[in-house]
Symmetry: C2
Subunit: 194 residues, 2 copies
């Protein structure tokens, strides 16, 4: 059935959904009440229409400026650079950071043809004015993340702003025994006197 | 953000999608091109409109009668009863069955308030005419599946039709060591001389 295959294909395109899950979801959707499906579609459309990127930091927002950038309680002297808005949600949940963010929207990834020019560096450098004292690089500790961090740190240091990088090491609850070499080596490098 | 929460909630309602996956999918959808999202929505609507249940067996189809029921090459003297259309797809992939199917659409599940009256037994009994020689019960080997099988077998036997049940036991590639007691006991019960 063409229309069944189509709907399965569409769900299989979503991130983290394999063929079997896509089929399960497709059957679920086919069994929905018409009204329920219309509601689902309306919510998709509405979210897509209302949500845009913050003009300052690139975070998702329903306004021109996001909640974090417009919050005067937050420390605007410190900016944490993340790959995308999901990372902001993760940090916000931890409730340990009160500065601002900057969403890079991507990282340098030569294998997938993403170079320096594909990152919106201008938007970032415009923010690196007198008020900013520290920039925290919070990109994934992968080869691409490291490359991007190195590149950005050079640009930021030129502005005489402190650059830091979030610690990487063995996650809480993790095992030394099952940690990979790179993580162990990072955990040693980043050791702290107690 | 209300509209972001809404879209995450919607995806989290789909089967097999947890909160984290729902968030990942929501962000993916927000990053889609407008055209891409419209296409996605069109495919959902189209599938929902076109796909209905076969008038004979209850399988999903774009026509009044499904491909299997209308295939004259298939053996109409044998009917395999399954819970839903997905099970038909699984059996058809195995290419080992050439009879017809009957989709029950549910199984007896008193804990969830599904009783005998909620199953469309009439549709099934109407098919149990002179031509049918055997009915295979292919419901999941769970308490609910077993109860339903027992109930159906009584009705079918009254019509003097052979009733069989698919074998349950240790799956191909499975381990005896890690099999649960019920499976092991089933595998012994169902042993065959070789």
């Amino acid at each position: 059935m063409k229309s069944l295959d189509n709907i399965i294909d569409e769900f299989a395109k979503l991130p983290g959904i394999g063929r079997k899950s896509a089929m399960r979801i497709a059957f679920h959707v086919l069994e929905m009440e018409d009204e329920e499906l219309l509601n689902f579609i309306t919510i998709l459309k509405e979210a897509k229409e209302k949500i845009k990127k913050c003009e300052i930091c690139g975070n998702l927002t329903e306004n021109d400026i996001c909640e974090i950038c417009s919050d005067e309680e937050r420390d605007s002297s410190i900016i944490c650079i993340v790959k995308d808005s999901r990372d902001i949600i993760a940090f916000e949940k931890s409730k340990t950071y009160n500065g601002l963010y900057h969403v890079l929207g991507g990282i340098i990834d030569p294998l997938n043809g993403i170079g320096v020019d594909d990152l919106d560096i201008d938007k970032l450098t415009k923010r690196l004015t007198g008020n900013v004292k520290e920039v925290i690089l919070a990109l994934d500790p992968s080869l691409e993340g490291e490359t991007t961090s190195l590149y950005l740190s050079k640009i930021i240091k030129e502005k005489e702003i402190i650059v830091s990088r979030i610690a990487s090491g063995i996650p809480m609850g993790g095992n030394i025994e099952f940690s990979d070499i790179a993580t162990l080596s990072r955990s040693l490098e980043g050791r702290k006197e107690i």
